[in-house]
């Protein structure tokens, strides 16, 4: 049942929010502002009561699948459980409400949290210089690449090092960020093993290489076993290695980017450290880099400036050769806070548990599914794996997308499909560490049923129980409609206006 658009529910005269009557001597806008600047009428927003608004959005919410309601094994996205304590703490007075321009001296609690977080992220990555500023992983990538660009320019290699290299299985953000940072992009060829081919890489790396971007474990869920050789190769050519931290949740406390040769990395706080995904953000994409890159980081960062061990004092600080800001204000503090809460809860042992359990869950599910789906790369995997529906596509015309859609009917969110591009009919499955064996077993049974027991037609026309079925994306692209129609301007008799407290 479609829920009527807000704008169609609008009735002139209805309203929810009310505001105080002015208590100051008259400075009416019409008196203090030039007439030419003023609009004839306020914007045509819908007119609604609070009950209208609450019922509308509450019902809308139930059309979503979400981690709180469904298993959500969306590969690469790390849909782990988001502890409720984080939401409560992030809203505390003094935590949720400080204006960004308050005096630093009055925000020592906040700065302490952010400083501690910088330290923890440095320790986990093995990369000592941290900037919390980037708003999301993609911005972290871009920020790191700009940092690299500034570094090379500073060394006089700015004109020379034009290339950023990445594997074919890279996230789309990698080449997009490289392009935005002004680099030329070079993509490696797919490999059978799913791992980076050292020889091919060597053939592409040169004195014109600025950065090699690599996700490790990679997007196929495999640890790049040659990572030391890879990073050594880049370093030998004076280039830098960027670690895409999207899969950091697999290696927490087990190995560190800084230890396997990474020079820069970003974290996805909303994945690895369980900031909720919010239906598509906000995220937070702090970056950690080697000491020699620290001076180029965007500011501000938090620095300890004195005080006592029991009561340290902190201040904001802009690194000496900073690339400048990549956004306004400090960063996506609300998400950084959730990461802090998570780290303070789980601590060192918990970090390791998270990764070990994520790896175990993924391997368990991989094993349970290996005879119903093709899995092109050898076991074990790390925290996720990529399966392929090629066989089913060939034999029964059931595609990865069909499987994905059919899963929805069982109350399970679909895996990521058709990514990475290297694997045909890819189904990328990441169970995360917060799911129980019971859920994994149930999921495996469902996939098995879909692929081995169900009528092909049922699967190919799925989903059947969702609010809508296979929206027409072509139409959405050909005749794009991106905003609702203007509201009806009929008048409503005053006796229809609802009383709303």
């Amino acid at each position: 049942l479609a829920i009527r658009p807000l704008t169609e529910m609008s009735r002139p005269g209805y309203r929810a929010a009310r505001f105080p009557t002015p208590d100051v001597p008259d400075h009416a806008p019409a008196d203090v502002l030039p007439a030419g600047a003023l609009a004839a009428a306020p914007p045509e927003l819908p007119e609604l009561t609070e009950p209208d608004v609450i019922r509308h959005f509450t019902n809308l919410s139930t059309l979503n699948m979400s981690v709180d309601t469904h298993f959500y094994p969306l590969g690469s996205c790390t849909m782990k459980y988001n502890p409720k304590r984080h939401e409560r703490l992030a809203g505390l007075p003094g935590i949720g409400d400080p204006h960004p321009y308050r005096d630093e001296a009055d925000l020592q609690g906040m700065l302490q949290i952010l400083h501690e977080l910088q330290g923890m992220l440095a320790e986990i990555s093995g990369l000592p210089a941290v900037s919390l500023q980037p708003a999301a992983g993609a911005q972290g990538e871009l920020t790191a690449l700009l940092t690299a660009a500034a570094y090379f320019r500073d060394r006089g290699e700015g004109e020379q090092r034009r290339k950023v290299i990445f594997p074919s299985s890279a996230h789309g953000t990698n080449p997009a960020s490289a392009a935005l940072a002004g680099f030329d992009t070079v993509q490696l060829k797919p490999t059978k093993t799913g791992l980076t081919d050292l020889d091919e890489l060597a053939s592409k790396v040169g004195e014109d290489t600025a950065v090699f971007m690599i996700t490790n474990p990679n997007t196929l869920g495999l640890f790049e076993k040659d990572i030391e050789a890879i990073t050594a190769l880049l370093h030998d050519h004076g280039a830098l290695v960027y670690i895409d931290g999207a899969n950091m949740n697999a290696i927490l406390g087990l190995t560190r980017p800084g230890d396997f040769g990474g020079d820069m990395m970003h974290y996805n706080v909303h994945k690895t450290f369980t900031g909720p995904h919010g239906g598509g953000g906000p995220g937070a994409g702090p970056i950690a880099v080697r000491d020699f890159l620290g001076p180029y980081l965007p500011g501000p960062v938090v620095k300890k400036v004195g005080g006592t061990p029991e009561r340290p004092e902190f201040a904001l600080h802009t690194p000496s050769k900073s690339i400048g800001r990549v956004r306004s204000h400090f960063g996506n503090v609300g998400i950084l806070l959730r990461g802090y809460f998570y780290l303070r809860t789980l601590a060192a042992a918990g970090m390791r548990d998270v990764s070990e359990r994520a790896v175990l869950n993924a391997n368990y599910l991989r094993s349970k599914l290996k005879d119903v789906l093709e899995i092109p790369h050898p076991a074990p995997c790390m925290h996720e794996f990529v399966a392929s529906a090629s066989r089913s596509k060939k034999n029964r015309q059931i595609s990865a997308m069909d499987v994905a859609k059919r899963l929805l009917d069982y109350g399970v969110h679909a895996p990521t499909v058709y990514f990475p591009l290297d694997v045909p009919e890819a189904l990328m499955i990441e169970p995360t560490e917060t799911e129980s064996k019971a859920t994994l077993d149930q999921f495996a049974d469902i996939v098995r049923d879909i692929l081995t027991k169900e009528d092909a037609e049922t699967v190919k026309t799925a989903p059947h129980t969702t609010p809508v079925r296979r929206p027409d994306e072509v139409k959405a692209a050909r005749q794009p409609v991106l905003c609702g129609v203007a509201k009806g301007c009929g008048t409503v008799p005053v006796d229809e206006v609802t009383v709303s407290a």
């Binding site: 209805y14 505001f19 105080p20 002015p22 400075h27 806008p29 030039p34 003023l38 609009a39 306020p42 914007p43 927003l45 609450i54 809308l60 979503n64 979400s66 309601t69 505390l92 925000l107 609690g109 911005q139 660009a149 789309g172 997009a176 935005l180 940072a181 002004g182 927490l252 087990l254 190995t255 560190r256 230890d259 995904h277 919010g278 239906g279 953000g281 906000p282 965007p298 690339i323 400048g324 990549v326 956004r327 306004s328 204000h329 503090v333 303070r344 042992a349 918990g350 175990l360 391997n363 349970k368 074990p380 064996k437 809508v468 079925r469 994306e473 959405a476 692209a477 794009p480 991106l482």
Partner: protein, 465 residues
């Protein structure tokens, strides 16, 4: 489970990580805290962010009073916004790739786009960018793509200094130069802008009302841009659109803004909400997620992520932006907030903010040495000059529990022309939440008047019989 995978221990599974790079010690992180310990710890730190114990602080345990502006404002957030944004179905969902499993988010974001279009007067809006600053930079990049002019982007000196910094950083390694037209008098000289608009200029970026709180002559500026084939970008403040002409009406081509004022807590700088709307013709060059309305296989109206071929996950190096996670949950908050306010509510918030800020300006200018920095109409924020520097004034106010600012001295000095004496300038703003009583008490605290009555917030402000 190990039996199923044929491993003796999880270590077997981790053997794929070369031993040489394995961490051979526990991470050096602080001790783990259980929920009640964590709450105690964070509450203690939170208290350090609410200093109320200064000798002359008179608010008896209440919160600090915020007269801060600079693009982030202490607007009231109705409880209904928190209620909706706090629903797990919204905040624990992912980007709505699977439309069938995400109609809730998709419709909400479509409604967000609709409301942003209503505010700005355009017919295309995206589903959010990170914040106002990056939205301005994305607009510049769109303009470069659209005009194919790689020479320069002209930005006014009256644009938020952090937005200007962001723009400079993000364009630093791209061909176009960022050229600033200084604004020493609080309102930009149109002729100076005309002179800066060259034939290879892709975009003109104007903030209106500007960073100093003043109205620019936006219509003339946009007309000047149009005359040179330059794309006009207006940085707008959504709350002021309760009163002011929309960007589209003023002649802008792209409108970008910071949506924090629309139901989003201040949270020390983020997450906020980048607003982005533009003329229809730029549709296929816009950055970020777009939600489109379409039909499903059974003819039902529904919503999808539209035009994904612009995006990084499809188009990779040639995408219109690298953005992946946007600010979905904040877009939801803004949608609920605007739905609660409606046209009348938005107008009232703007109206009250104008009135209170003007009264605040009057009262602060009674303080010796304090004057309005500029002789120009200002909207909901005012720039004051404090002879000899603003530090003392801000300190006195702070000690009394009132936060004012930002002082322009908090931004790099090179962002303002020397003739402005920026170190003497401070912005202040009063939203609809501020009362006359608070403003009067601030004025009294600054006046050194011993007869000034302290505002004891332990006292019910609205006592009844």
């Amino acid at each position: 489970m190990l039996a199923e995978v044929g491993a003796e221990s999880v270590e077997d599974l981790l053997a794929q990580i070369p031993a040489s790079v394995r961490l051979d010690r526990p991470l050096n992180l602080p001790e783990g805290l259980c929920e009640s310990e964590l709450q105690r710890h964070v509450a203690a730190l939170a208290e350090r962010n609410r200093p109320r114990d200064a000798a002359n602080f008179v608010h008896g345990g209440g919160d600090r009073v915020c007269f801060l502006g600079g693009g982030v404002y202490d607007h009231f957030v109705p409880a209904a916004v928190d209620e909706i944004a706090g629903r797990g179905e919204f905040y624990t969902a992912y980007t709505p790739y699977q439309a069938e499993a995400s109609q809730g988010s998709l419709q909400a974001f479509f409604e967000f786009q609709t409301l942003v279009c209503r505010l700005t007067g355009f017919t295309v809006a995206n589903a959010s960018l990170y914040d106002g600053g990056t939205a301005a930079a994305e607009a510049a990049l769109l303009a470069i793509r659209e005009t194919k002019r790689e020479g320069r982007v002209v930005v006014l000196g009256s644009v938020h200094p952090e937005y200007r910094q962001t723009l400079s950083t993000l364009l630093e390694y791209l061909p176009a130069d960022v050229v600033t037209v200084d604004c020493p008098n609080g309102v930009t000289d149109v002729a100076a802008v005309e002179a800066a608009l060259t034939d290879d200029t892709a975009a003109l970026i104007v903030q209106h009302p500007n960073f100093f709180g003043n109205l620019e002559d936006a219509e003339r500026l946009f007309a000047a841009a149009k005359a040179k084939g330059v794309i006009s970008v207006q940085v707008f403040d959504p709350v002021t659109l309760g009163l002011l002409k929309s960007p589209a009406e003023l002649g802008a081509d792209i409108a970008v803004g910071e949506g924090q004022g629309l139901g989003i807590p201040m949270q020390y700088g983020g997450p906020y909400l980048g607003l982005f709307a533009c003329r229809e013709e730029f549709l296929r060059k816009t950055p970020g997620r777009l939600i489109g309305r379409t039909e499903d296989a059974d003819g039902r109206e529904c919503y999808v992520l539209a035009l994904q071929t612009r995006e990084q996950h499809i188009r990779r190096g040639k995408a219109t932006s690298n953005i992946c996670s946007n600010q979905g949950l904040l877009a939801l908050r803004a949608t609920v907030h605007l739905a609660l306010l409606g046209p009348q509510g938005l107008r009232e918030v703007a109206d009250l903010s104008v009135r209170k800020t003007h009264y605040l300006a009057d009262r602060l200018c009674e303080t010796p040495g304090v004057t309005k920095a500029f002789d120009a109409p200002f909207v909901r924020e005012v720039c004051l000059r404090v002879e000899g520097g603003a530090r003392g004034l801000l300190g006195t106010a702070r000690a009394a529990g009132f936060d004012l600012g930002p002082a322009l001295s908090r931004f790099p000095a090179e962002l303002f022309p020397a003739e402005m004496r920026a170190e003497e300038l401070v912005l202040v703003a009063a939203t609809e939440r501020r009362t006359k009583q608070e403003i009067d008490l601030l004025a009294a605290a600054l006046s050194d008047d011993p007869a000034a009555t302290p505002l004891d917030r332990g006292e019910p402000v609205l006592a009844v019989a």
